[in-house]
């Protein structure tokens, strides 16, 4: 460790002036009368002032009078008198034949051994930074508007698709074809419901409970003719999933509910369909059950329909297994995802 040698007063003045002259940020050293003692080369260059004309001139008289701003002069005088500091004072520097520049100025009285008053004024040109900020703000706003516009278009397009499917269902003669077309309509509405949930969320995630509730309300509205006769109960925990998984889960629910409505309650049989979803860690179980007539004795006699294919494909995609059980009365389909393939026999709390 070497001790710092104190500088001779003249040497320290010369050092101070050299520091000021070489500062890359524009700075100006003023005396108590607000006359320029020294300024950095960067100051002269940035504001196009000839250093030869500046020496001992009042700061307000620099250039062609563009620095002669009454409010700034008052603030600087107050700073020199020790009753104020200039901190982040903003002004427009207006010069003939030049673009207006936005400046942020700060000045403070220097605390030093000499009794003479010295002010250090820093001048930052923030014009370009402000322009960049504004461009960024504009882009963000444009992006938000664009996103809303896209969501709006998606909703409108889905409405057109749904309308065409329903129109087609109305026009066909075959009851079977009509059923297919109304199922297709329900599938489109199921995806649309995710879209609506997503539009309401800012993070691209979907709250499963409100999604399934909306989905089943919509399925009920279009497929249940007498709400007294059939109802759909939704029992979902607070799980939040990303959009893709939600779309898959929603389509599975749609297929299973459509299937139950189609087959479980013939001859105006009364009943209830229940949709359950519960997650624990990364494991989850989706169940759709009904209290209808139950599965046909021979499940193999009918060719599996599109709905079955969709449920199988999506369960596979979700890494889940399908089990179908006799719920006595009715049928219960479970879609079970276990994150850990190795099943551990953890003791259950009684």
């Amino acid at each position: 460790m070497t001790a710092v040698t104190p500088l001779h007063p003249e040497a320290s003045l010369s050092l101070a002036l050299a520091v000021i002259a070489s500062s890359s940020a524009p700075i100006v050293l003023l005396d108590g009368n607000l006359c320029v003692i020294a300024a950095s080369t960067s100051f002269y260059q940035a504001f196009l002032i000839d250093p030869k004309t500046a020496a001992a001139k009042k700061f307000s008289q620099l250039g062609a009078g563009e620095w002669n701003v009454a409010q700034l002069s008052v603030l600087l005088e107050a700073t020199a008198a020790g009753i104020a500091d200039v901190h982040g004072y903003e002004m427009d520097l207006k010069r003939p034949a030049q673009n207006t520049r936005r400046l942020v100025l700060s000045a403070q009285k220097l605390d030093h051994a000499d009794a003479s008053v010295r002010l250090l004024l820093t001048v930052a040109d923030v014009t370009d930074a402000r322009v960049a900020e504004k461009v960024k703000d504009d882009l963000l706003r444009d992006k938000a508007i664009l996103l809303k516009e896209v969501q709006h278009r998606v909703a409108n397009s889905l409405q057109i698709i749904a309308s065409i499917l329903l129109q087609s269902a109305r026009k066909v003669q075959s009851e079977e074809t009509r059923t297919h077309l109304t199922s297709a309509h329900s599938r489109v509405m199921s995806i649309a419901a995710v879209q609506q949930q997503l539009a309401a969320s800012s993070v691209g995630e979907v709250e499963l409970r409100s999604y399934f509730e909306q989905l089943c309300r919509s399925l009920g509205a279009s497929m249940i003719h007498d709400p007294e006769q059939l109802s759909i109960d939704v029992n979902v925990d607070k799980t939040v999933t990303d959009a893709n998984i939600s779309v898959s889960l929603g389509l599975v629910v749609t297929e299973l509910v459509i299937n139950a409505l189609k087959h479980a309650f013939p001859n105006q049989r009364k009943g209830k369909i229940t949709v359950d979803y519960h997650a624990k860690g990364k494991d989850w179980t989706l169940q759709v059950g009904d209290d209808g007539i139950g599965m046909p004795a021979k499940a193999d006699d009918a060719k599996p329909g599109l709905g079955t294919g969709i449920v199988e494909a999506l369960s596979n995609q979700l890494g889940a297994e399908i089990t179908v059980a006799d719920a006595m009365p009715g049928t219960r389909v479970s879609i079970i995802h276990r994150d850990d393939v190795v099943i551990t026999d953890a003791p259950q709390a009684a």
Partner: protein, 137 residues
């Protein structure tokens, strides 16, 4: 059509006995309009249709029997569905209004009192159910 009139006031207000409630559908997208118009006609309503707010106003002036207006919010031509709904509330206060939009967020305060909002895509059955509920009295 006169079948909507002359109904006995104390007649049971069962929805199916209420066959000719006049509904005005305002929607600029032709396919969507065609579909909802047919659905509403099948449900037993008398349906009038307009593809913009100006047409809607003309039809409202010419048809005092309109009880419900079902309108899209986002329409070209300066007057959107919300402004239309506001002017209908001012000029024809008894008319029930259902507005629909693909935009998720709708300022509910901007809606007239007797109004409902539905996000697109809506299910025609939900629209039918709403119209029946709103015209029950």
């Amino acid at each position: 059509m006169t079948s909507g009139k002359g109904r006995r006031p104390n007649e049971t207000e069962h929805v199916m006995d209420n066959p000719r409630i006049a509904v005005l559908v305002v929607e600029d997208e032709a396919v969507i309009r065609m579909s909802i118009v047919e659905e509403l006609e099948d449900a037993g309503f008398e349906v009038l249709e307009a593809s913009n707010a100006a047409q809607a106003i003309d039809i409202l002036i010419a048809n005092s029997r309109i009880e419900v207006m079902f309108t899209d919010i986002d329409m070209p031509g300066g007057v959107d569905g919300l402004k239309l709904a506001a002017s209908v509330r001012d000029r024809w206060p008894p008319i029930k209004i259902i507005v629909t939009s693909g935009h998720r967020r709708i300022d509910v305060d901007a809606l007239p009192v007797e109004a409902r909002f539905m996000t697109k895509p809506y299910d025609p059955n939900v629209v039918i159910r709403s119209i029946r509920e709103m015209t029950l009295n």
